[in-house]
């Protein structure tokens, strides 16, 4: 059927299979990361905001809280949540501002490959910022977050955040008030992730039994798996109409 369409043999040939799919995901992610390396508009802004927020929290809670361990779990996750929104705005925002989204949508690739490429890039940005945030909190609050279970929780929470956040960023990008709207849509849906993340961090910092921490890891895993599945199911719908 397609052959009748080609004036002559097209140089572009369909490649199917999981490896080809991953190559497209990788192409999108690599393109985003390379652009970011040159422009430095997302990660630098996020990192600056994260550090600034940590300082503001430090000033706010200084002398008012007997032990920093009591507030650091909350501070960590609040900063992660608010910082993430900044990065997610740009994920599709930069594509629509410069009109490049059309080019992506014209490509003969699954929409979900574009989505997962963006998820991967966002995940990387988030993790870079968190790698900077943890030492900042160590310096300001003298609380060491570099403990395996906390890092695992942070990784899984960030993954879930990237999964849901990237999809919502795609949903809001065509809306009129996208900057203001994204956090309003996102934060209530992230509530389980936030509760689990804070609790897990608190459990570890309070040196309570590890079994409690693993329960929270379980919730994070459930969150990630559930929303990954639903995102995969629904993402193709987002751009089906103009």
């Amino acid at each position: 059927m397609m052959d009748e369409l080609t004036g002559r043999g097209a140089v572009s040939e369909k490649k199917s299979g999981f490896a080809a799919y991953l190559r497209r995901v990788w192409a999108v992610a690599a393109k985003d990361v390379r652009t970011e390396l040159r422009a430095r508009e997302i990660v630098v802004t996020m990192a600056a905001f994260a550090v600034l927020a940590a300082v503001v929290f430090g000033l706010a809670f200084d002398l008012r809280v007997p032990r920093a361990e009591l507030v650091v779990p909350g501070i960590l996750w609040v900063i992660v949540l608010f910082t993430g929104v900044l990065g997610l705005q740009r994920s599709f925002g930069s594509e629509t501002d410069r009109g490049t989204l059309t080019g992506l949508l014209l490509a003969p690739v699954e929409r979900s490959a574009i989505y997962f490429g963006k998820v991967a890039a966002n995940l990387l940005y988030f993790l870079i910022v968190e790698a900077l945030l943890a030492p900042t909190l160590l310096i300001l609050f003298d609380v060491n977050l570099a403990q395996p279970i906390i890092l695992l929780g942070l990784l899984m929470g960030t993954l879930g955040y990237a999964i849901v956040g990237t999809l919502f960023a795609a949903l809001t990008v065509r809306s009129r008030a996208r900057e203001a709207l994204l956090p309003v849509l996102l934060l209530p849906v992230l509530a389980p992730l936030f509760i689990a993340g804070v609790s897990l961090t608190a459990v570890v910092l309070d040196a309570r039994p590890a079994g409690e921490a693993w329960r929270w890891v379980g919730i994070l895993a459930l969150y990630d798996a559930l929303f990954l599945a639903i995102a995969l199911l629904l993402f193709d719908l987002i751009w089906e109409q103009g």
């Binding site: 949903l171 065509r174 809306s175 509760i195 929303f227 719908l237 987002i238």
Partner: protein, 245 residues
């Protein structure tokens, strides 16, 4: 012309709706009477708490209505994604709008009751947390809908959001419960940690049933009115479009 006759037909549909309105007024009046006058006092409470506990009929009733709104939004959204008929989206939107009002009632009545019972307006109990988060999601949903020109895009995107929200709410409840719980679990027997429990007498049970039914009927009446209003709005838009051409 065809749209005009459709508008005329929807006028005849008003009769069942009027009956539902009357039914809603009657059951709500009955619910108020049952909750405030008919129901006996809770045996194990005294003083301020004794009076405050009567808000419970209003609280549970609103809760039922809010829950129906939540379910309606999910059914409407899933229905839209499966059929792509805008009427499903109207049901979802109307459910959310009305569910939000009752959600506010739930939070408000709960806070009023909690002050004498728990000596605080608010705690991060799982039910409270989940109710608050759900109302926030509703509000986000309504704000989100405002931002689209095209009805089809609006329906599609808000349906997707509603499904995400639907999946996150049970997880919020579950993780908040793991966090802590002091909310009274009245019907399901005793809860070791909960505070402010009260035993449920026979008249109280009847009043509870009446108010549950009353609020459900009220919700349905409001829902049908809102959906009718939305479909009339769409018809007006359609007629304007035809006139302009």
């Amino acid at each position: 012309m065809s749209t005009l006759s459709k508008a005329a037909r929807s006028d005849t549909r008003q009769w069942p709706l009027l009956l539902l309105d009357i039914l809603a007024v009657l059951t709500m009046a009955l619910a108020m009477w049952a909750g405030l006058i008919y129901a006996g006092d809770a045996i194990n409470l005294a003083g301020e708490e004794q009076v405050a506990q009567r808000i419970f009929y209003f609280h549970i009733g609103s809760n039922i209505a809010a829950l129906l709104g939540f379910l309606g939004s999910v059914v409407g959204s899933a229905g839209y994604l499966l059929t792509r008929r805008l009427v499903w989206d109207s049901w979802a939107a109307a459910s959310v709008e009305i569910g939000t009002i009752f959600g506010f009632f739930v939070l408000l009545s709960g806070s009023i009751w909690a002050k004498p019972a728990w000596n605080t307006y608010w705690t991060w109990d799982p039910r409270l947390t989940t109710a608050a988060i759900t109302v926030l999601i509703y509000i986000a949903y309504m704000l989100f809908r405002n931002g689209f020109e095209s009805r089809a895009t609006r329906a599609l995107f808000s349906s997707i959001y509603a499904l995400f929200a639907f999946l996150s709410v049970p997880l919020t409840f579950y993780s908040a419960r793991l966090f802590r719980s002091i909310h009274p679990v009245i019907v399901a027997g005793s809860n070791q940690e909960s505070q402010g429990d009260f035993a449920l007498g026979a008249t109280m049970g009847q009043a509870l049933t009446i108010s549950t039914v009353g609020f459900a009927v009220l919700f349905l009446a409001l829902l049908f009115h809102r959906v009718r209003q939305l479909s009339l709005e769409a018809q007006i838009e359609q007629l304007q479009m035809e006139r302009d051409e």
